[in-house]
Structure formats: C-alpha cells, structure tokens
Symmetry: C2
C-alpha cells in the first residue's frame, strides 16, 4: 500500500537514471531519444514493480492535452441517447482515452457552461448531441481550437452526423402502407402523423418523407393529417383522443414521431378494445424493445447509434473540422 504517489523521480532514483530518461522509456519515445534498449526495459520493469501510474494532470499540463474526450447530450435516461453514450464510451476507451459524458437537459446556457468547463479541462475532442444552440457551441469550440462534431442535430459550421430522417420516414410510411390490408385508394384521408416539433430539422425532414411518400402513392391527405404536437407524452395522448372522437375511431394508419408520444398513444390504446387497435396499422419513429412485445404489431424505426458515433469519430480523426453533413440511414424494425 503506497501512501505517496510514485512519480517518475522515484523511478529515476531507483534506476539510477534521470527523470527525462524515465519519461521517454515509459512513453515509448526512448528510441527517438537514443536511450538504449537495455535501459528502457529496465526502467519499464521498475515502473511495473513500483506500481507506477502516470499523473495525467502533469502530463496534460505539459502537453496541453488531457486524454479526455467529451460528449454532451440532452439526457441520459433515453434509449437513443444512452445507446449513443454506450457506443461513445466504447470507442473512446478503445483508443486508450477517457470518456466524459455530461447531460445538459436541452438547456442552452447549460450547454455553453459545460463546454466551457470541458475546455478548461483541455479535452481533446467534443461530441455534441442534440444541441439547442449549435452555432454558439461551435463558435465557442473554435475559439478554443477544440475539434468537435455534431451528432443528431446538425450545425452548419462544423461536421455533422445525422440520421437520415427523410429516408426513415419514407421507408416507415411505405412499409405501413404495404402492411395495411387496405388499398391505397381506401387509405385516402386515413393516414395520420402525430408528434414532434416541425420547427426542428429532424421532425421537418420526417414530415417531408411522410408527405412525399403519400403523394407518390397517390394517397390523399390534408395539413390536418399532420399534427406535430411536440414531444410531451400526455399532450400526444390528448391529441389522439381528440382525433378519435372527431373521426369516431382510429385512423387506418398512424405514424407516431418519438417514443414519448408513443407512450401517450399507448396509454390511450390501452383503454380501447383490442380489436379496434388491431385494425389500425401503427408505426413509431423511435425504438423501444417493449414496442414489439405488445398485443398488436408496432413497426419502428431505430436510429443506428453505433454507426452515428463511429462516423462522428471518423470526422474528428480525419476531417479537419470543415463543415459537412453526413446522413446515416436508420433501420426498420418489423414486429
């Protein structure tokens, strides 16, 4: 049980060498620095014996690098975001670095504060997920020369990796149409889109995909068939209730945007007789494993968290920060 932390000076003393020799023996630069193999190996052995662990703060101070890689995201307890953190943590650790993940609760000030904080720790790179104010964040990172990449929510000033929401919505809509027992003719004015925020890029692309697919299929609809009522679970339930009352029943196809809205819808469904729900073909742009375990089929779109993270890392490592937008196709989960 050591009490004082072992430093390179302790090793130097034991090895009868200088601290600089120890340093280069341990960080692998001994060949460049013309330390003999024999000396280097002896020092490495002693380091292991003495149970040496490097002081990352001293190292970081000198090298102006920390080995920390940061990620900010809206919240931890959300399937998609926690899939992202899981992948992120794996990728970072695979590269011998240390992940630092902080949630910023979709709060603009908190985002900026956390990034400032990260900068003062000299993190080596930053992954920004679902940013509220991408422009301000990117500017802040640039002023500190911090390599960064946006995930899920794009930024025009920096590389961005985003789910191909248009493609996903189109694919899901197509799938729902072909799964429904009704003909395209019969489906006119029977297809609804519920949830999300049309002012945000993600939802707006999804709505585009939905709309274009209906048009291509010759299925009639009006603006009233698209209800981007936000992400609140209870709100979505109420809107669905209203729709049900107006129509005197569920629509033939219902595409729900976001898992939270899906929860609200589910709550409403659980009050209806099962056969009524079964008659409605249901899709959800988001994924939850419980979705496929329900008594009626739910078709889901799952974002590829792992691929998003890998592509983002690729940008950090190879892309020199030029703004690009890379779309990742999500996958359809069929019950």
């Amino acid at each position: 049980m050591k009490i004082q932390k072992i430093t390179i000076y302790d090793i130097a003393q034991r090895a009868g060498a200088s601290a600089s020799t120890v340093s280069s023996a341990l960080d692998g630069s001994w060949k460049k620095r013309r330390i003999s193999k024999k000396t280097a190996e002896r020092i490495q052995e002693i380091a292991v014996q003495m149970d040496f662990t490097i002081n990352r703060q001293a190292q970081g101070l000198r090298k102006a690098k920390s080995g920390l890689v940061g990620m900010i995201l809206p919240e931890h307890n959300n399937r998609f975001f926690s899939d992202l953190s899981q992948s992120f943590a794996g990728e970072v650790r695979q590269r011998g670095n240390c992940p630092a993940i902080i949630s910023t609760r979709r709060n603009e000030e908190e985002e900026l504060e956390v990034v400032s904080n990260f900068i003062s720790y000299a993190i080596d790179a930053l992954f920004i997920v679902g940013a509220t104010n991408p422009i301000a964040l990117s500017k802040l990172c640039k002023s500190a020369e911090l390599p960064h990449v946006f995930v899920d929510q794009p930024c025009e000033l920096a590389p961005s990796i985003v789910t191909d929401n248009y493609f996903g919505a189109a694919e899901l809509t197509n799938h729902l149409i072909s799964f429904s027992p009704k003909s395209n003719q019969e489906l006119s004015n029977q297809v609804y889109f519920l949830g999300g925020d049309a002012t945000l890029p993600a939802s707006s692309r999804r709505i585009d995909g939905f709309v274009d697919t209906l048009n291509n299929a010759g299925i009639g609809f009006t603006q009233s068939h698209i209800n981007a009522c936000g992400y609140d679970r209870d709100r979505a339930g109420k809107e669905l209730n209203k729709l049900y009352a107006q129509r005197g029943g569920l629509p033939s196809i219902l595409l729900i945007n976001s898992i939270d809205c899906f929860e609200g819808a589910l709550k409403f469904f659980s009050q209806l007789p099962e056969e009524e729900v079964t008659k409605c073909t249901i899709g959800c742009f988001d994924y939850d494993p419980f979705g496929i375990l329900l008594r009626f089929p739910v078709h889901m779109i799952r974002q590829r968290a792992n691929k998003l993270v890998k592509e983002a890392y690729d940008c950090i490592e190879n892309n020199s920060g030029e703004p690009i937008l890379k779309l990742i196709k999500p996958e359809l989960i069929i019950p």
Copy 2:
C-alpha cells in the same frame, strides 16, 4: 477569437500585479491573503474582460485534486442505471464539479482498469455502481486514498448504499396477494418467483422477502416455486413456457425479478389469449414506463435512483470512508 489561452500571468501583466495576487483574487482566497478589496475586484473585472478560464490541469496538478467526480456502472442503456447517471450528473454539477461516467460492462478487469485510469486523473471521489468485484475495487481506491462509495451492490470495506430489496420484495408480494381475487388459502402453490441470480446479494434478499411474506400469509410453496434463472430475457421466456406447460396454465401470481426477464415473459404473454394473462396477477421487481401501459395490470417496484445517489454523496462528504450499509426503500408503482 483568442489564439493563445489567457493565463493568470497575462492578467497579472495587464493589472500590474503579480501572478500570485491574481490567483488569490480569482479563487476567493484574497481576503485570507490580505489582498485589498479594490485590487481583487479590479483583477476580477480584467479576468472577465479577457475571457479568462482557468487551466484545470495546472490547478489540479498543484492541488492534487481535479474537480472530476467519477462513476462506474455496468451499462448506460438500462433504465435504472441511466436514472442513476442522470441524478449523479446533476448532483456533481450542482457542486461545481465535473462528472465522468464510464460503463464497465460487468467486467472485472475493465472495472479495475477504469478505476486505475480515474486515479491517474486524480478524481476527487468515485461512485461504484453494480460492481463485480467490490473488494478489489475498494482496496485499489484505498491505496490511492480515493474516497469512494458503493451503490446498488454493497462492499464490506466501504460505505454502501443499496436498495432495500427485502422490503421491496415483501411489499410487492403483499400487494400482489391482496390484489389477487383469490383467498390466501386458494393461493397455496399458486405463487411463483422468476428470474435473477440467487448467488448475488440483491436477488437473495428479494427471495427472502418473497419467502417470508408467503410464510406470514400462510401461503404454501416449495423450492420449485422459486426459479432464479438469471437475467437473460430469452431464458426467462423459456422457463415461463415450461412452467405454463407443466401446470397447464399460468400461476395465480407471478413475481418477475428484473426488467430483462419481464421482457421475456411479455413476449410469451403476447402469444396467449388476453383473458388468460389477465387472470394472472403480475409483479415486476424493476420499473419501465411501458409496464403500466399494457393491456393487463403490472405492479412494479421502482428503485429510487435519485435518493440512492443523494445518500451516496452524503457518505462521500461526511462519512470518512468507514464501512456502513444504508438501505433505501424502493417504491411500489401501481398500474
């Protein structure tokens, strides 16, 4: 856009003061160090003007503290663990520190490696969630004089905050008994426990609570009514299928241990006619919001992630590392 980072020396020069004066003006120790209020305020203003952010590595090196607070946990994408990280992140940031959360995939070596890594960053405290090898981890922390606390999985060498599994299981069992339309007499040999690992403290305490409650209620059962078949979803589904075949139907009460097993059970349920499932009173020791949205009632036990974290922080701040075991009662979620 600054290119070179501003340091206290830059501020010193601009203020016509020394670096040591700047340092104490900025960290609040100026009063103790007999710097005049006027000077301190002037320096603070200049610091804001120059957009100064402290270099945490230099600070950490000198103070042998980093302002980082670490947490290790088995995985990010799990409701309970991500609730814990969310609470943890909030508590840490509230104290002006920076949370670092790393998942170690229930892998003993990975746990040790990550903790070593944390130590080399001089983190100020460590929260260890669901450890695989608590003893080894605690010893490692102690050798580095790192304050630490165990959450969810206790350790006899350090303070531990754990859900009161006995209480939770007893409460859930009691609730299921009283919810069931059958009398206690009728329930004999009709109550089952499924899932979990009886060799782990958590499950074993839950089984104790289950068993004692049945005994108290005078409900007969044998060892065959307790099937701690692990945490695998498909395995749990198979075991349930087997039980169903043997008995020629579902039991009157089924207590499922862990959300993963619940998913397996749910998959099996979805193949049965609804009225058959409704006749079985179902409980789950774990929580998922989808659970209350099913077509049949599911009674759930939810661990108080936030309280666990708060109590753990309290230990770190006030407890000086003596081993204690604190139990936190979970809450019953009624559909």
